[in-house]
């Protein structure tokens, strides 16, 4: 049950980390920063962040507000139990058909299209158990499993449902009536996620190695080119940009003030210096024609305004990738690049859709966005 003790520190959830939380078979996945005493709520599932600290990423079981690591073997066992439950509850009185249920499709049950779906009856008639009775049972403290069993018995349409529909029904009812017992969530490390903006890179808890690959450069610095607006440092304490007119005295004053305050500010200062150092490296890299690729992704910024600043500074044979939700922006960028002799120009877009995969019921999920935008790529070369 307990995971092996070979976990390295990098795999352990710790205070202040950003994690992706997703309920198994849930619809949403969220990025949440785990801080002490924090209550985490996802799709009706509640647990305290503290209970996750010190445990490796992965699958968790939520039980009375606590999350406990769950092994895959347990998950498989449960899955099999669930399937068994469907198999037995779907069988009508004669138990002799159990063995053949897999291979032989009898006329009554396991039809391809559930007749219940075709019969449009009001919901009340389908379920013998009245709402009041359900509430009463809840008050009496009837366990979730029993409740689901009762609901299955009371359901008029259950027997005519297909196997998948039955398991879906049980799952849905179990979800509704079992509070937070036995619901699994997956906690995943955020490392692989795309950094969405520069501040985001800083606030995420990337480990040393990953962080060292990021050289965030503020747009301000790129626009100012060589005159680095280092004076306009961002104060990490409140996250607001503080203008101090480049006055050295003020800078010192500010630093003195910071020294007085807690260690936390010291840490923040160290972080800021580290960030500025990496920014300096980043700018240096841009200036020395050392960048081997340029990726532009923006909804509103005209890629040409970025290209005008940075194209000349790219190393020859560098790749340029521009994303835009709109084609026309990319077509003007295409012209711009063609004029400068870029080669291997390609404008692509991609349809990516999620499919529901079930035997006899495979189809693309309804109401999903399949359009993601367009990508223009090119390679810079030394002009003839």
């Amino acid at each position: 049950m307990t995971p092996p003790t070979t976990d390295t520190a990098a795999n352990i959830i710790s205070n202040g980390q950003y994690l992706i939380v997703q309920k198994i078979d849930g619809e949403q996945s969220r990025i949440i920063r785990f801080t002490p005493k924090q209550k985490i709520l996802i799709e009706k599932l509640k647990f305290t962040a503290d209970s996750a600290f010190g445990k490796p990423y992965g699958l968790f079981e939520i039980s009375s507000g606590q999350c406990l690591p769950m092994s895959v073997d347990r998950l498989i066992e449960e899955l099999q139990l669930q399937e068994a439950a469907v198999a037995t509850s779907s069988e009508p009185a004669p138990p002799t058909t159990v063995t053949s249920s897999e291979t032989i499709i009898t006329s009554d049950d396991r039809v391809v299209i559930a007749p219940s779906a075709l019969k449009l009856e009001p919901e009340q008639k389908r379920q013998k158990l009245e709402m009041d009775a359900v509430l009463e049972m809840r008050k009496q403290g009837v366990s979730g499993q029993e409740m689901v069993q009762k609901l299955v018995e009371g359901s008029a349409s259950f027997q005519t449902r297909t196997v998948f529909s039955q398991s879906k029904y049980i799952k849905r009812k179990a979800k509704k009536h079992s509070d937070s017992e036995n619901s699994e969530i997956a906690l995943t490390d955020l490392m692989g996620a795309v950094a969405q903006s520069i501040p985001c890179v800083h606030s995420m808890n990337y480990d040393e190695q990953t962080l060292s690959t990021f050289l965030p450069v503020r747009i301000k610095c790129v626009l100012a080119e060589k005159q680095l607006p280092y004076e306009n440092n961002r104060r990490p304490a409140n996250g607001e940009a503080v203008e101090n007119n480049g006055d050295v005295e003020m800078e010192e004053k500010e630093q003195n003030e910071e020294r007085k305050v807690e260690e936390q500010d010291q840490e923040a200062l160290a972080r800021r210096n580290d960030r500025l150092e990496r920014e300096r490296k980043g700018i240096e890299m841009i200036e020395t024609e050392n960048a081997h690729s340029l990726i532009i992704g923006s909804r509103t910024v005209d890629p040409i305004s970025v290209l005008e600043l940075l194209y000349a500074k790219l190393a020859p044979s560098a790749s340029i990738v521009i994303y835009s939700p709109h084609q026309n922006m990319l077509i003007t960028a295409y012209d711009w690049l063609v004029k400068r002799g870029a080669i291997n120009l390609m404008l692509t877009d991609q349809m990516c859709r999620i499919l529901q995969v079930l035997p006899d019921r495979t189809h693309p999920l309804m109401a999903q966005h399949v359009a993601g935008g367009h990508v223009l790529t090119a390679i810079k070369v030394i002009e003839k």
Binding site: H292, D335, I343, V381
Partner: protein, 330 residues
């Protein structure tokens, strides 16, 4: 963490080309030739001969003149490699490779298992994604293919981060157990390989599995096998990349058409200083030839002030990459 600066490599970022480097010789949009630069050798292609001596010492991205035309010499990337590699099997193209790498959560340091190796298109993409301290174990049942890919890895400076293995993952499982962060399957019966894949993944870190199948029936069985093996968040996606063709659109008024007929694309309008159309200029060098658009199109569109054009994008585009660039005549 530092990238290798010595030895032939896809990971090297020197300014100039050295002997032993793999160079992508860009002839036209549809024709790219990967070449290992070696003194004394000559590359023969559409634009004639190019002696390797001329390549050595040149900067990456430079334009070189061959005996009958110009070519560019490019730094190899996984995308360029995918488009130019010697094909021994069907290959995965960049759009799929990118999706697979994202789904596998490949990053520097990841340990990934792959089956089958095929021509090594995805293998190169994964290897470059997990470099410099990750590792790729790539499995295939065909020994000759595996040998070829192994040689390529060596030439490209990727041999330290890759291990090609001849092994049937459906029956014999993977080369590693309880070790990797991600498994990619492109096999005819993924459901047989999935339980093995579950064993190959690290038990403490967990990991991801991605299976690529052309048939929906394979996907269905793979999904069931994944759930049975204890994988969660099983999702099926379909990726349809589309390449767009950018063309110049000729637009004329009804009056112009009546007077001059369809001038596209052999003629361009000639305007006086007021912008009034006064006549036409010949655009195609060989006006007698029946082909209006030259067979070998130069890259991109040439913007001609005298020629009314509105950029238009038409799709879906052409599978055949030779069809991609349509150009209106110099």
């Amino acid at each position: 963490m530092t990238l290798a600066t010595k030895g032939p490599s896809f990971l090297k970022y020197n300014e100039r080309i050295e002997e032993g480097d793999t160079v992508i010789v860009y002839v036209t949009f549809g024709q790219m030739i990967p070449t290992v630069v070696k003194r004394g050798q000559t590359l023969m292609m559409k634009y004639g001969a190019l002696r390797h001596e001329f390549i050595i010492g040149k900067r990456w991205g430079q334009c070189l003149s061959a005996s009958a035309g110009f070519v560019y010499i490019l730094r190899p990337t996984s995308d360029l490699w995918t488009r130019s590699l010697p094909r021994r099997t069907q290959i995965l193209y960049t759009a799929d490779c990118a999706e697979i790498i994202a789904l596998l959560d490949c990053k520097p340091g990841s340990v990934i298992c792959e089956s089958g190796t095929g021509s090594g298109s995805l293998s190169h993409a994964i290897a470059l994604a997990v470099a410099p301290n990750g590792h790729l174990y790539t499995h295939d049942i065909d020994e000759s293919r595996t040998k070829k890919v192994q040689e390529e890895f060596k030439t490209h400076g990727l041999s330290e981060i890759t291990t090609p293995v001849v092994q049937n993952v459906c029956t014999d499982g993977f080369f590693v157990t309880n070790a990797c962060d991600g498994v990619f399957l492109d096999v005819p019966a993924p459901w047989d390989a999935i339980p093995h894949a579950a064993r190959a993944l690290s038990r403490s870190r967990g990991g991801r599995i991605v299976s690529f199948s052309p048939c929906m029936e394979q996907v269905q069985r793979a999904c069931l096998a994944m759930s049975a093996a204890g994988f969660v968040c099983v999702e099926t996606i379909e990726v349809v990349p589309e390449q767009k063709k950018i063309v110049g659109q000729h637009r004329q008024t009804l009056e112009e058409f009546e007077e001059l007929g369809d001038a596209y694309p052999k003629m361009a309008k000639k305007r006086d200083s007021d912008g009034k159309v006064v006549g036409f200029t010949q655009l195609v060098p060989h006006a007698n030839s029946s082909a209006a658009v030259p067979e070998v199109a130069p890259e991109g569109l040439i913007v001609d002030e005298d020629f009314d054009r509105i950029r238009d994008v038409v799709g879906p585009s052409f599978r055949n990459q030779h069809d991609r660039v349509v150009v209106l005549i110099p």
